[in-house]
Subunit: 196 residues, 2 copies
């Protein structure tokens, strides 16, 4: 009956994956059922399997798409010849943009990765460890340069990543402030502090 609509430039599988991201974000991977996903699309659950392999595969697609977007951007930033502070600034702004523009997918990658099956789980965690390792190097570089304070670099990376991740709670306040102003405020806070 109701056919699954492929978006202008995207396969049917991608349309399903996008809907899955929204559902997984709202309900969590385990609590989200294929029946409910099908209902959101306007189709019976078994029909989904004409387009996808399994529920787990949907999660894989979401997590790894997001992971590689972040990885690519990190490489771009790493290769830009500029100060450590400027690199961190760019990276923080990218995280904020991703959080606002691909909210559901980023949320799922951040929270539901633990339901990945092996070997995807290990692969994902390795990628994340690499990402954090490279950010750590960046902060270390800044400390050595005397651009940055001598804050424990691991703690600094954690604080930055956690702060931007926390934008998942910003959805309800989206209209309070422009995206540019939001970026500026967070970068200012994280790099220069809250105290005058």
């Amino acid at each position: 009956m109701a056919k699954i609509k492929a978006t202008a430039n995207g396969s049917r599988q991608e349309a399903i994956t996008k809907k899955a991201a929204i559902l997984f974000r709202k309900k969590g991977f385990k609590a989200a059922s294929m029946r409910e996903l099908a209902e959101n699309i306007g189709v019976e659950a078994p029909s989904l399997y004409n387009h996808i392999g399994s529920k787990g595969e949907l999660l894989q697609n979401i997590c790894f798409k997001i992971a590689s977007l972040f990885m690519d951007q990190l490489e771009v930033v790493e290769n830009s010849k500029t100060t450590a502070v400027e690199k961190l600034d760019k990276l923080i702004r990218f995280h904020i943009k991703m959080m606002l523009q691909s909210f559901d997918e980023v949320f799922v990658a951040n929270h539901e990765w633990k339901y990945l099956d092996e070997p995807y789980l290990t692969n994902f965690l390795t990628q994340r460890k690499n990402y954090e390792g490279k950010m750590l190097q960046l902060v270390n570089e800044g400390i050595k340069n005397k651009e940055l304070k001598n804050i424990h670099p691991h703690v600094a990376v954690l604080t930055i990543l956690s702060a931007v991740r926390g934008l998942e709670f910003w959805q309800r306040h989206k209209k309070e402030i422009s995206e540019a102003a939001l970026e500026d405020n967070i970068v200012e806070h994280l790099l220069k502090g809250l105290i005058k």
Copy 2:
């Protein structure tokens, strides 16, 4: 066979709740089964119901215990006659202590509250909104005082709360640094920034 051991100063129900927090944190509320919880305790699943009402009740106990600990401390800080900066400092340090000392429970309260049934869900969210509202007031006070920069107060609260919440990832690095030094680093970063 294996009886459920009540801890020195705690009921059997509390012993089960503690184990449930660990399991809910590891697997997520939906993916954690009563059978697995029972197995971790060394008992058959139906035996648990001699001590608890339901799976959902375990989640309620965890979430509301944590919520009230935070609420109590916030009131203590609010009533201390001191600067806004000092109040924020105290609050941040309390969050960090909670994160390190009651890791599983705080994690569950932060991540699994969405599986609370009504009316507990609404109640919990109301409490959290109140908490954030009072922190917002605190930041506003600091801005008015000219203790704090004119950063969008809502963004500042979000950044602080997210940064401390991110300590859930610190478990694997616990030995790198003392708890006191961790507190100092994060407070320094959040209040005075990363740049020299």
